[in-house]
Symmetry: C2
Subunit: 336 residues, 2 copies
């Protein structure tokens, strides 16, 4: 096949070139039974009862960054949004919006990365859509992924209880700062890579070790830990206390943040989960996380309190208290 | 609330303004139990067995056109992709990518239109995501909608049989030409509006009237009737014969196409469905379509044949035959 070196408007036309894109790229790398039907909708099996649904668009710039790329990010982000509800991620749908002129090779790298990450997470990409817009009408490539999970649990902020212990599975701020470093062309002695990873296996291990004791989980992406905890405090009407000393943060992230005036607690993560567990299960939860490759740096970082309902309070190194407020404005755009 | 008149990067930050956008706009217009949970994933009920999944991104330009807008289009497009598999559309997920600077009022109009169209189609928008990209990084607004349908039937090209009769529920090319007229600022005596509509009610009536006799359906969007029929001919390895005389096409569409050098059979529709039924059910199917407001101009347009497998043949007004080939290249970009 005399393949075009760049993506053209005709690749999104629904005609001959669309067909070649589907057969020669998507089916080749993502092949599975549901996708191979090439119907307007994929048909997949689910057990009865409830399913979890989530959708997310990815607009990260640049498309490739240390530790990942937009394809890996799109799969991980949606897998993680399902996993934190306690559901088992099963199926993904992918919608690509491509700017005319994107090198075919770039698109192929991204699709290969999506395929590899889907295998790693144990999910199938069962249906998709490709639109091509004219030069200047989009920035390279945007990906929307929607996910279906089965057997969701009734986890969520409404299950938070005073006394619950808060944990995180590792260092904070790695993703946002890794993307920033690449985008700004900065260079540091200690290389920093994004934490971008599918967390469903780690979360399944946690749920198995602490049945009934995990009350709420969330992946602190945009807005970082601060946004997640503020949402919890607001929507559950509880107070949240965080031990600043206990927060795992890499030295590189700390340095870049100090240099550029960011706060790592507001920076996005893509392979982290904040977990609230019953106090009796806290040590078991910590040990389970630390036993998993994606939880080696796990830590207990705080607790749910009755006091200061609706607020997140940071207990600083020096014993003082300061309010960790909801992020206002946009610190780091285009990181996910 | 001192509401911002335009959408800023901060509206997509996951912080305070994101929260206001969700509460003040999305929840206000799209409210339902699953969405109101505001979890990373929505939890919804499905019967056991199979579900249908479909995803589509909408990049239409301009955002508003005669007979619809990007919001209505996004809901209808996904509802129709589910309905043509024989599934009952139930839940939608919506992913919005907004260019910084979009007027808040424009976004609100689109969200209201999505809400109205979802009600019309009997579906719920249960979860969503909003990303904001800098000026020039997208063109106003892109919407991805992913849909979940229940009780899909095993319809599809592989069920096509020689002798099957082909129908369409109304005039061809209205959507693509309506968008083109608006985009180019053309003006015609006979106003033309997009056919953009949810087809699930019409299709449910058809399936009820002809149980077991509907073999394959598809909404001929990008690439028009020609792309749909060519895909069927290819993937089923059958021939398809179309009576040119029988094709319902509005005079305005015909004129614009002649003027600008388009072929209405390659122009997108957004409220049309092509249907293949067993020959004995053809008249019943036609009567059922015509009895529905969205099928008044329904017509029998051709048949599945054993001859010329893999090809679509147009029988012209003068008794000649010509090949209706797969569209190559991009005639009308940004119409859906």
């Amino acid at each position: 096949m005399n393949r075009s070196a760049i993506i053209t408007l005709a690749h999104g036309s629904g005609g001959q070139l669309s067909h070649e894109l589907i057969e020669g790229l998507f089916l080749r790398h993502l092949n599975n039974e549901a996708l191979a039907e090439l119907n307007d909708a994929a048909t997949v099996a689910v057990p009865s009862g409830q399913i979890a649904l989530t959708t997310d668009s990815f607009v990260v710039s640049p498309l490739f960054f240390p530790g990942g790329d937009i394809g890996r990010l799109a799969v991980c982000g949606t897998v993680n949004d399902l996993a934190v509800t306690g559901a088992q991620p099963k199926y993904l749908c992918a919608g690509l919006i491509i700017e005319e002129g994107l090198p075919f090779e770039t698109l192929e790298q991204v699709v290969v990365s999506m395929a590899e990450t889907a295998r790693e997470a144990g999910v199938q990409i069962v249906t998709g859509d490709t639109k091509v817009v004219g030069r200047g009408a989009a920035d390279g490539l945007f990906i929307n992924t929607t996910g279906v999970g089965i057997h969701p649990l009734a986890l969520g902020p409404r299950r938070l209880r005073p006394g619950d212990v808060l944990l995180v599975n590792g260092t904070l701020g790695d993703h946002g700062i890794a993307v920033l470093i690449r985008r700004e062309g900065l260079s540091f002695d200690a290389p920093l890579v994004s934490d971008c990873a599918p967390l469903n296996d780690l979360i399944a291990a946690l749920l198995a070790a602490c049945p009934g004791d995990v009350h709420c989980m969330r992946d602190p992406t945009r807005g970082g830990l601060a946004a997640t905890l503020n949402e919890w405090a607001w929507s559950a009407g509880v107070g949240i206390e965080v031990d600043e000393q206990a927060l795992p943060i890499r030295e590189t992230v700390r340095s870049v943040c100090e240099l550029l005036g960011f706060d790592p607690l507001y920076v996005a993560n893509e392979g982290k989960v904040v977990i609230a567990v019953a106090p009796t299960a806290a040590e078991r939860a910590l040990a389970t996380l630390r036993a998993h490759p994606l939880g080696r740096d796990a830590a207990i970082i705080g607790r749910v309190a009755e006091m200061h309902a609706g607020r997140v309070v940071l207990e600083t190194l020096f014993g003082a208290h300061r309010l960790l407020s909801m992020p206002v404005g946009e610190l780091l755009p285009r990181i996910c």
